[in-house]
């Protein structure tokens, strides 16, 4: 065999061989478990700790409020939408939720032409300038306190 060819064949085998070895070492073990990605990634992404507790967990202690809420206009609201992230409160009731009361009503109910017509909206300055809760129970908004 001509010396060039021999030398080149040896070099090629060396390069390809070390590439294959490197690939065997450097490819993560869970790769191609489900597809062209690290199978471990699914577990890693899923193992992140949730931040919001979810209304179902509020139900464990506050089922009375939720039962009343379920019969009124705010039945589709989540607790944490108004009260903020309450996971810590759920774990330890002595820690209060982020927001107990507040002016969150306006965030949704301020009249805006982009809001759908079926949605109850008010122009705040024409409606009432005091506190919303004077006339509306927050969990049962059609009821007067």
């Amino acid at each position: 065999m001509p010396p060039q060819i021999l030398r080149l064949v040896l070099l090629t085998l060396g390069i390809v061989g070390s590439f294959l070895m490197a690939r065997a070492v450097l490819t993560p073990s869970s790769f191609r478990q489900y597809g062209w990605y690290r199978g471990d990634a699914l577990e890693e992404i899923a193992s992140r700790t949730p931040v919001y507790a979810g209304t179902k967990s509020c139900d464990e202690c506050h089922s009375d409020i939720l039962q009343k809420q379920a019969k009124d206009a705010h039945k589709t609201l989540s607790c944490e939408g108004c009260h903020g992230v309450s996971r810590e409160h759920g774990d330890n009731p002595d820690i209060l939720p982020v927001k107990l009361t507040g002016s969150h009503c306006i965030r949704c109910h301020e009249a805006n032409p982009s809001r759908p017509a079926w949605f109850k909206q008010i122009i705040v300055k024409d409606h009432y300038s005091g506190k919303c809760t004077e006339c509306h129970l927050p969990h049962q908004p059609t009821q007067v306190p």
Partner: protein
């Protein structure tokens, strides 16, 4: 409006024209100047190689003096081609993943293999076959460290027999033939990266890889013209006008094809006026006006077409001095124009929103990894490498051997 909302308005997104998706509202595009440079550099690599292959494959004897310079140019630019990509990555330390688990549906995934193939199997091998005989001679006659380098590059194959050199020539020619599609692949896949993005109407079209390849060939030939003229000027030698004229001829015809295809892209866009057309018009008018109309079209295409075209018509009637100047200036203009073209493609595609309703801006910064200072360094580096390679492998102090390479105008002028 509650105080909450008003307070927050101060942190509202920077003003853009029209509407852009919130994720597009960043201060600068995702793919910046570094990604403009990468296709530019690989284009020069591919183009310089195609120039060199004109000698070996298409047997254009007139270009013989510039063969080795073109190959070394291609090589020195290829060595720097990965740098813009590495600097751009969010996690360059994971760059090996692209070769370990390449996702074969992605055009970007072939990068590692195409690059390795082109570097080792095409460029280095062809250079080796061309130089092997000389390396053996030089390793015997050159003292010291340089001699060791030459011996290293012979890879231990020191056979000087005519049979061995004949085999060198045959394999070198074979590699030149293989190298042409490899060069097309090396740069064409970059064009395909952009051409395959259907989400972006500026990028995603069928002509993109072809436009990239043609402008690569044009820029590569222009670079070889530039390097040849500079090198002969530094060495105070006379330029081989037959070589220069031939290069100018190929440059002209390549530019004609390039301009025709780019023109076709333009005409089709304007004629079909598809959905994103009006926002792209706005983008061109407001953001790419100078780089497109002045940089790419006028400086990069129109003026060199006229200059080189007139030389093709008038030929030897134009005095040598003027011809040299015209060709040199045209080459420089083309180099600037092709860089402008890469800018227009890469940055232009990110200056309008995918909502097709808004237009963003980009101010190229001086400092930082994506700044133009870094760009200057990355563009100068291949020339530094080329200088070293020329000193090592194209030096006039080296005895002109080249047992198998056909002599052109005489040993002194063979570079």
């Amino acid at each position: 409006m509650t105080p909450d909302v008003t307070n927050v308005l101060v942190e509202v997104l920077p003003k853009f024209e029209g509407y852009v998706y919130p994720n597009e509202a960043g201060p600068h595009p995702l793919w910046g100047f570094l990604i403009v440079l990468y296709p530019y550099i690989t284009g020069l690599v591919a183009g310089a190689f195609i120039m060199a292959s004109l000698v070996r494959v298409f047997k254009v004897q007139a270009l013989e003096p510039v063969y080795r310079l073109s190959m070394l140019t291609s090589f020195s630019f290829l060595l720097c081609a990965t740098l813009p990509l590495l600097f751009h990555l969010g996690h360059p330390e994971r760059c090996f993943e692209i070769m370990m688990t390449p996702h074969l549906t992605s055009p970007m995934a072939i990068f590692g293999f195409v690059y390795a193939w082109y570097l080792m199997a095409v460029l280095l091998l062809e250079l080796w076959f061309d130089y092997r005989y000389d390396l053996v001679q030089w390793s015997k006659t050159t003292p010291g460290f340089r001699g060791i380098i030459y011996r290293l590059f012979t890879v231990g194959v020191t056979d000087e027999s005519p049979a061995a050199t004949a085999l060198d020539a045959k394999l070198g020619r074979f590699l030149s033939v293989v190298g042409i599609p490899s060069a097309f692949l090396l740069h064409g896949y970059v064009g395909f990266i952009f051409g395959s993005v259907k989400a972006n109407p500026w990028w995603g079209n069928v002509l993109m890889p072809i436009i990239f390849i043609m402008s690569a060939i044009v820029s590569g030939i222009a670079l070889c013209v530039f390097n040849y003229m500079v090198l002969t000027w530094i060495r105070r030698r006379t330029i081989d006008m037959r070589c220069l004229d031939t290069m100018a001829m190929f440059l002209f015809y390549a530019l004609v094809v390039d301009a025709a295809i780019e023109g076709l892209d333009w005409i089709h866009r304007i004629y079909a006026a598809e959905e994103g057309f009006s926002v792209m018009q706005t983008m061109i008018r407001e953001k790419l006006f100078y780089t497109l109309n002045l940089g790419q079209a006028t400086v990069g295409t129109l003026i060199p077409l006229l200059a080189l075209g007139s030389l093709q018509l008038l030929r030897k009637r134009v005095p040598e001095m003027i011809r040299k100047r015209m060709i040199g200036v045209s080459a420089l203009m083309i180099l600037v124009g092709v860089l402008a073209m890469r800018w227009n493609v890469v940055i232009g595609g990110q200056l309008f929103s995918k909502s097709l309703r808004g237009v963003m801006g980009y101010k190229l910064e001086f400092a930082g990894v994506e700044g133009w200072f870094m760009g200057l360094i990355l563009l100068s580096l291949p020339f530094v490498i080329l200088t070293t390679l020329v000193k090592l492998f194209l030096s006039e102090q080296l005895p002109a051997t080249s047992g198998h390479v056909p002599q052109g105008e005489g040993a002194e002028q063979a570079l």
